[in-house]
Symmetry: C2
């Protein structure tokens, strides 16, 4: 169905007010689009009759100094409908329905004769729009100073936010009313790129709850060749305005060439918090898969030489304790080893053994390659070469040992944010990976970006991440990005992008004031809206003082049972069993859940959710009748009953329940857990009790 | 000989004044180095007893905000002497003598406990110094705000200068007293990167003449991993201070890691202008050749599809006249050809034929690869891929045709200053060159640099040029850089760097107000001090109105005879016969000189020179007894007598004299020339008459 309203520009007066309405398929969401008396594109959104976004203006400021948010006329308006389903290569469900109505308005900016299309897509859980510019040789190149899309909210909503910083997302979430947003109150991040943009500026996505019971998430989809979007709040009007991450050129955020389009601006809304987590609209707004042969993409679990570098006084990424080395000219064999280098052959083999013994697919090794002696904090360009192992890392021996045990090795490319260096060396790095049979890579971007002046979330870096994803796709390699820009659903298009970090991960618990117990109840409503996160759960040795008694008092801010539940609540097709094998060996009964849990799913049921408080999710493993449930709470103890009515009717199952011990408490007694089994059916109701900062993990296997 | 003065730091008072003297081997030049009462390193230079540089301070401002130009103490002073000779792979002479005395002073900056060495080398025609930092783990990384080396001159010298602009050297020279320097008076350059730093800031090298008859050139040698040096003038004190080209980070010009050293600061001085041109000190201050097998480096002459793109209404680099194309996604075969694309197979073959017929070694082709439709001026990153020919450029046919005729093809890599793009693609570009047998490449850097915020002359780009030179050396490819930073003698270390442009070349005469007739009498005293220039002489069709009568009135600002003389006065191991073959075919008698002239030399005699006025040079061809003389003048007619006493005694030669016609004049009658022959010996004196803006070229062949 396609309706077209062809309007004659000559008949239009700039002072005429035009209005168009577009509804979601169920008519839950209604979007109104108008040009006001000044020719300003304006939209509003309602959900089941309640206002979500009050009239909000749209447009740009270009670097030519002109204002592209008014003096538009409407040339043409089209509407279409779309209803299809598609199958992701991996995901939370096996089939995704994309059902939306679309309106496109071709506008002419009268003062400059620039044509711009605004395209709306309205799903039953999401209103989205983006800007498009056709190929226009009169306006071939556009320098964007800022995009000025407004999101005018209806009240002083409860808001979950982190500060606007184009170089990091690694913050604790703050929960305040919109009027309480103050980025200066955010804790500094750990990777040394803490520089907030303005006190009223926050990162997208932002999650909100209105006093009239609506859950609202504002974010973006399909970010590509454009800067990431932050949001600045006008606290008097409760109105957000987009703020694009900057470039090295003052006054320009995006360098565009027509034809081009912005990412989608998304407003996901529901009166049920669970619907926000279940929304697939951000994936639907991304392009279909562009990888022809996706056979190499296989979700997996891994262990790795990693957590032992985070805990007190254990291992190091660096091989020597010398400082001030240069990549070229250093004789790495001549350095005096510090004796604590984690990525040594013997140690790596232990991880391989553990993986092989426990059905873990792969082993990640960090610190294997030369350069870690002084890699960060000095804006140093020639840091790593990605191909030279330390003298004690025998790549040949390790890869053949891993192969003999059926374990895959995962490559690590820490760039130190020296991206020009990485781009120069990536081809040889990929050649190295192919030679040694590495099937996946974890990339890292710690520190300030080189090219200096660019930012992690700016357009140049967004282009870079895309280039790397495509290069890896061409080489048949899966990728897990750390410290990169937050994902916006592009794993649909490039499903070799298994996961990103782009938030404050579990490692902060090892050496900082850590993540609040509520942290993992917020992440799925914010960071995970755009794609999986490599959160690295599964820490069993919770208190860092057990490593070194006079050391820090850091600890993981959850119970052990909650660490298990995260494998379900925090979706990712790559999951790390992040703790050190020796810690798992003391709790192999609990580790059984990590062995069992799937990383790819045919179905997902968000049973209960409230951002900042709790999440309970059930998932059915890919190509299997096994279900897994994860339930987590914040700092508050919680009891709940969950119905297993999603199980096959009439079928019998055995549920293994990994629960907090009765005396468990994230702070005082985090390792207390109990494991019980129970026969269940679709009629069963499980009563769960979660400790303060606790959780519960359940596997439900059919009885054959 | 090595003398060492070991001083005990504990005995030193910051208020003590220390003085050291170092003389050149002949004692012509004397340098005094002291620490003044404030612990400021201070030097002065005299030549034959005349002051050249009055006491001038040395040091840095680092980005830590501290001043590293005072509160130094002396730890240790060493002196050594050096006298050796070496043979360049190519050059103006076959053997170069490096005879100098050296003083190194190890200093300690008391407030920060930073150690710094100042190293002086004093030649008979040059005083030089540089700063060095040893490996120092307490000060591993240094961010330089600016280097503050002063050059305190003795009076209001006559000065030849171009404005300080870290993105271009393509200016007419201005000749003023030091007190008359005003960068705002410079004409804009043509490549769209005209942005002068400050009105009192000029480019190095700067050439001066004092009222007491000294010729003084201030420049740098061995620029590597450091920004290029501009100079700001204090007109009251006649004192220059170094100003380093900036980076993308405000307040930081250089990111250093110890150990490191700056380029040499050079003061070349003589009471004869000819000595300035003959100086080899800048080469001597560079490292010996680092290319193991230099067999692939063969100086050459070329013609090329190039000038026809500069003259009115002839050819274009671009294949189509469409605009706003993207590198990826454009179907180049589907474009409508504009019919004027120069780099088409048929046309290129004509150049190959002409080269083969006339003993020209190679053919350069610009505009052969896709992307020229809109390549410059938009800070566009994905511009060229360096491997995809236009549909009408049959690379296979052309290369095999050239090979069959014994002609080499020269590659062209215009980067549009999108350097990140070039670095990503350079390996495949080199692979392409190897596949098709290209032995040399001309690189280009038109426009603003990407990484945005970096500059042509900044440290990041200096590193880039070095990377490209090394990559090309590894691939056995010669290189000719255009729009790059000015060279500083590094062709000694990497002799595959045959030439650079880095100044206002001949093409400006085709479409701008051109180069003044004096231009080529200044360039050897400035730009060419650091290495050969690809000036592209040899234009025979002088007036652009002959191409298109209602077109521009641009013209080459020399006579035809002067175009010939430039092949001798403007040294380069790659020389282009820049005009279109059809123009040569009308003057094959004159073209004979271009056919004959050498591009590599066993000996060079600078017979006469005065910057801004005239230059006469005689050179002996490499491995041959043939001599060539070039004589040029500025806008003034000139007669001169030159003694041929450099010829072998008792030997007879035939001289062919390509002189201005009697009625020749660069403006009114530039093509008038006469060719005469004459028997000569070492006792002969030739009387030459050069027209206004004229010149004279002479070949002298032994009679067998």
């Amino acid at each position: 169905m396609k309706k077209s309203l062809l309007l004659f520009a000559s008949l239009l007066l700039a002072t005429a007010v035009w209005g168009f309405e577009i509804k979601s398929p169920s008519e839950n969401i209604v979007v109104n689009f108008t040009l006001d008396g000044k020719g300003t594109p304006t939209y509003s959104v309602s959900y089941k009759g309640k206002a979500v976004i009050e009239p909000s203006s749209m447009g740009f400021k270009f670097a030519d100094g002109k204002d592209y948010s008014n003096w538009f006329t409407i040339v043409k308006v089209d509407t279409t409908s779309f209803n299809e389903s598609w199958k992701p290569v991996w995901g939370e469900v096996s089939t995704i329905v994309d059902n939306h109505n679309e309106l496109t308005a071709l506008l002419r900016h009268v003062p400059t004769n620039t044509f711009m299309t605004i395209r709306f897509r309205v799903f039953d859980d999401c209103a989205a729009f983006r800007y498009e510019f056709d190929r226009d040789s009169n306006h071939a190149y556009i320098k964007v100073a800022n995009e000025v899309s407004q999101f005018n909210l209806t009240g002083d909503h409860k808001t979950f936010w982190i500060p606007g910083n184009p170089d990091s997302n690694e913050y604790r979430y703050l929960t305040t009313p919109l009027s309480g947003i103050d980025a200066s109150k955010a804790d500094g991040n750990a990777i040394g790129t803490h520089m907030i943009v303005a006190n009223n500026c926050i990162q997208s996505p932002v999650m909100m709850k209105s006093s009239d019971g609506l859950y609202i998430n504002i974010f973006e989809a399909a970010l590509s060749d454009y800067p990431a979007m932050m949001l600045t709040i006008d606290k008097n009007e409760f109105c957000f305005t987009s703020l694009l991450a900057g470039s090295a050129v003052k006054g320009v955020t995006a360098f565009l060439q027509t034809p081009c389009k912005t990412p989608w601006r998304t407003i996901i809304v529901s009166d049920k918090a669970e619907d926000i987590l279940a929304s697939k609209s951000i994936l639907n707004l991304n392009e279909p898969c562009k990888i022809e042969n996706t056979d190499f993409i296989k979700p997996f679990k891994m262990v790795g030489v990693w957590w032992e570098m985070h805990v007190p006084r254990r291992s190091t990424w660096n091989y020597a304790d010398e400082w001030n080395l240069k990549l070229e000219g250093t004789d790495w064999n001549a350095l005096k080893p510090n004796g604590r280098h984690g990525a040594n052959t013997e140690n790596v083999k232990k991880y391989i053994d553990f993986a092989a013994d426990n059905g873990i697919d792969a082993v990640l090794v960090e610190g294997w390659n030369v350069g870690w002696e002084d890699w960060a904090g000095n804006w140093k360009e020639e840091v790593f070469d990605f191909v030279t192992p330390y003298p004690d890392f025998n790549v040949k021996e390790i890869t053949s040992y891993a192969a003999s045990k059926g374990v895959k090795m995962i490559m690590h490319h820490e760039t130190s944010s020296s991206v020009t260096n990485y781009e120069r060396r990536i081809d040889s790095a990929i050649e190295f990976m192919k030679k040694w049979g590495y099937t996946g890579v974890k990339t890292g971007y710690v520190g300030w970006i080189i090219p200096r002046g660019e930012t992690h979330d700016g357009q140049w870096m967004v282009q870079h991440y895309d280039r790397v994803i495509k290069k890896m796709a061409d080489a048949g390699i899966m990728i897990d990005e750390h410290e990169a820009v937050r994902p916006t659903g592009q794993c649909r298009t490039y499903p070799n992008l298994l996961a990103c970090e782009s938030a404050r991960g579990n490692e902060f618990n090892a050496w900082s004031d850590g993540n609040l117990p509520e942290h993992e109840t917020i992440l799925p409503f914010t960071r995970l809206m755009g794609g999986p996160m490599d959160y690295t759960p599964g820490i069993f040795k919770i208190k860092m003082s057990e490593y070194y008694k006079d050391g820090n008092n850091c600890q993981v801010h959850t119970t052990l049972a909650k660490q298990l539940a995260l494998y379900v609540t925090m979706f990712s097709p790559v999951q790390m069993a992040a703790d050190i094998p020796e810690n798992y060996l003391k709790h192999m009964d609990a580790f059984q859940f990590i062995k069992d849990v799937a990383v790819d799913w045919d179905d997902t049921k968000v049973l209960e959710a409230e951002p900042g408080d709790y999440i309970t999710i059930a998932r059915k493993a890919k190509g299997s009748d096994k279900w897994f449930i994860g339930a987590i709470t914040d700092e508050n103890r919680r009891t709940t009953e969950i119905k297993l009515d999603f199980l096959d009717k009439g079928r019998k199952y055995i549920a293994t329940i990994y629960a907090d011990g009765k005396d468990a408490d994230w702070e005082s007694n985090p390792v207390s857990y109990s494991i019980t089994t129970k026969k269940v059916t679709s009629k069963s109701v499980l009563k769960l009790t979660l400790a303060n900062g606790g959780g519960c993990a359940i596997s439900i296997f059919p009885i054959k």
